[in-house]
């Protein structure tokens, strides 16, 4: 298991570096002056998109990142060049399905509120039930937080959030690795 993870991360690293170099080029081909914050944002954005496109639309969170970036008009060039035409189609499709999911979720949420009221009417049976209630609530809160952290997580159910988080952690690690090495290299260069 560890070996496959290492292998995958190696592949991912290569892809990521490739795309990030491309992205950085595109970023600075615009000759306007940027202040520090803008630069940092550009760098981060290019890194994120590069990471997401390196995944080749295999995971939900990567699609979510790309679709979020596409909404901003400024980033269109960057996104288009990095991700390629295939994922654009995927993103469009994803947006539609996301929209449907959002509306259906709204309906569900309304019914949830109603169901909760009904549940509260029931008396608590015994002590252990209280403990389970508390535990469940804790878990629920935490899954909500996790959903907010993982890009695109709000639209997923609990199980897929955990799966996506797995993948996201791996890719974040790759990203941090590469960036760290770059920083080290530039410090050494200077």
């Amino acid at each position: 298991m560890q070996e496959t993870i290492m292998h995958n991360s190696r592949e991912l690293k290569k892809e990521f570096i490739k795309k990030w170099v491309q992205g950085l080029h595109i970023c600075c081909s615009s000759k306007k002056q940027m202040n520090l914050l803008e630069r940092k944002n550009k760098i981060k954005l290019s890194a994120d998109i590069a990471l997401a496109s390196a995944k080749n639309s295999t995971t939900c969170w990567s699609k979510a990142i790309i679709s979020k970036a596409e909404k901003d008009e400024q980033n269109m060039i960057l996104v288009n060049n990095l991700s390629g035409s295939g994922s654009k189609f995927m993103c469009a499709h994803q947006k539609v399905s996301c929209h449907k999911r959002i509306t259906s979720k709204k309906i569900l949420k309304k019914s949830y509120g109603f169901r909760k009221k009904m549940k509260k009417m029931e008396p608590c049976d015994h002590g252990s039930n209280l403990a389970t209630c508390i535990a469940k609530r804790l878990v629920k809160k935490r899954t909500q937080v996790l959903k907010r952290l993982v890009p695109g997580g709000e639209f997923m159910d609990e199980f897929s959030v955990i799966k996506e988080a797995l993948d996201y952690i791996l890719s974040l690690r790759v990203q941090v690795d590469v960036m760290k090495n770059l920083v080290n290299a530039t410090t050494i260069l200077n």
């Binding site: 994120d48 690795d177 920083v183």
Partner: protein, 410 residues
């Protein structure tokens, strides 16, 4: 076959910290096998045959073992070179009988258990169990020696009979204040724990075995030993149970068995499947997130995961900020090295990379002509890429170094 059982039995007790004598077995590499076996034999005799009355003799034997153990602790996990000495073991008829009795605890799947228990995070689980059920453990001892089933050769006993044995013990002997020998109870509890985990392995009896395991874990030593009630409480406390111990191994997705006393409607079955999927994923995440091996329970695990993701994201932010402030040198010569140096990284995709050097080269020329701005353009990073690629010279070393950097930080 007794041989194997005995071998593996010795191996099995290795993880239990309360039984240093058992560790000895797995680590004996040298010539004094026979001596040690004799001592081991005697302890086994004392433990198996007359637990209640024999409190002093085992204690006598164990100090001897301790010294031997200390010598051999570095070899704990090595293979057991028992081979040449086994005939002497098996030759002893009394020993064979004892081994049979002993092997009833784990007839066939000792092998699976040892590999499972020796090497991974079930250890805390084991310890939890062995600590958590001394009462039950104690209760078992009298049953072992007295039950007529045990006289039969251990190999003949399948897991079925084992389960029946232990089930009867559960029913009859939970409140039994049998022997109060601490070491025996520990050994027995570890045996019971081991048998619990072994039962979990057996797919056919998984459902029932889990009930028994959970009953041990929760010390349901109540007088009401109706198994139905146990299972019902287990069902109700499904979530807390999952939090109290390490997630169980995942069941087969298709063949989900409804346990006795549990509702068999599709909802609860689906619930159970869903829960197990989640716990399986949690287990995977445990391996991924550093420092998560000791954490059990969904809420804590999720906590750790959230912290880790947040820390990684902050790191990305920080690093991108740092990169934004960096001041890489402008050097035209370096750009020509880029294609060469980046090849080690892109060894698999070298064909793809052909057009790129031109792009980089073309892209970099405007920089040298344009006025130098206060903040360095991002182009400089391409040199940095080349630098840290060519830095190691070798791809494998490069990746190793990057990994070690991360590890140091972690």
């Amino acid at each position: 076959m007794d041989r194997d059982f005995f071998l593996n039995a010795g191996l099995h007790f290795e993880p239990s910290s309360q039984n240093p004598s058992w560790k000895l077995i797995s680590s004996v590499p040298d010539q004094s096998h026979v001596d040690r076996f004799n001592t081991f034999e005697s302890t086994l005799t004392s433990m198996v045959s007359s637990p209640v009355s024999n409190s002093p003799p085992p204690k006598l034997n164990w100090p001897i073992m301790d010294n031997l153990v200390r010598q051999n602790t570095p070899n704990l996990r090595n293979s057991i070179p028992f081979g040449p000495n086994l005939p002497s073991l098996a030759a002893d008829p009394g020993f064979a009988e004892r081994a049979a009795k002993f092997s009833c605890f784990g007839s066939r799947s000792f092998n699976g258990v040892t590999s499972q228990l020796g090497l991974n995070s079930n250890n805390p689980d084991l310890k939890y169990r062995s600590n958590g059920s001394p009462l039950v453990g104690k209760a078992k001892m009298p049953r072992v020696s007295s039950s007529p089933l045990l006289k039969i050769d251990g190999s003949a006993m399948g897991i079925h009979e084992n389960k029946n044995l232990i089930e009867t013990r559960v029913v009859n002997g939970l409140g039994d204040p049998g022997c109060d020998h601490k070491t025996n109870s520990n050994e027995e509890s570890s045996v019971s724990a081991q048998s619990n985990s072994r039962k979990r392995k057996s797919s056919s009896l998984k459902g029932k075995a889990k009930e028994i395991a959970s009953s041990f874990v929760k010390e349901e030593g109540s007088d009401d030993l109706d198994s139905k009630k146990l299972k019902k409480t287990e069902d109700a406390n499904g979530e807390t149970e999952k939090k109290s111990k390490v997630p169980e191994p995942p069941k087969d997705y298709i063949h989900v068995r409804a346990r006795r006393g549990q509702a068999t409607d599709s909802h609860s079955l689906a619930e159970r499947v869903r829960r197990e999927k989640i716990s399986e994923r949690m287990k995977l995440l445990q391996d991924l997130v550093p420092g998560c091996n000791k954490v059990t329970g969904k809420a804590l695990m999720l906590d750790e995961i959230i912290n880790y993701v947040q820390s990684l994201q902050h790191q990305v932010e920080f690093l991108s900020m740092k990169l934004a402030t960096m001041n890489p040198q402008q050097d035209l010569d370096m750009n020509s090295h880029i294609s060469k140096d980046l090849y080690p990284i892109e060894s698999s995709s070298s064909d793809y990379y052909q057009p790129n050097p031109k792009v980089i080269f073309i892209g970099s020329t405007p920089i040298t002509h344009s006025p130098v701005d206060p903040l360095p353009p991002v182009h400089g990073f391409t040199e940095a890429f080349s630098q840290f690629a060519g830095f190691e010279g070798d791809e494998d070393r490069f990746w190793g170094k990057s990994r070690s950097v991360v590890r140091d930080e972690n």
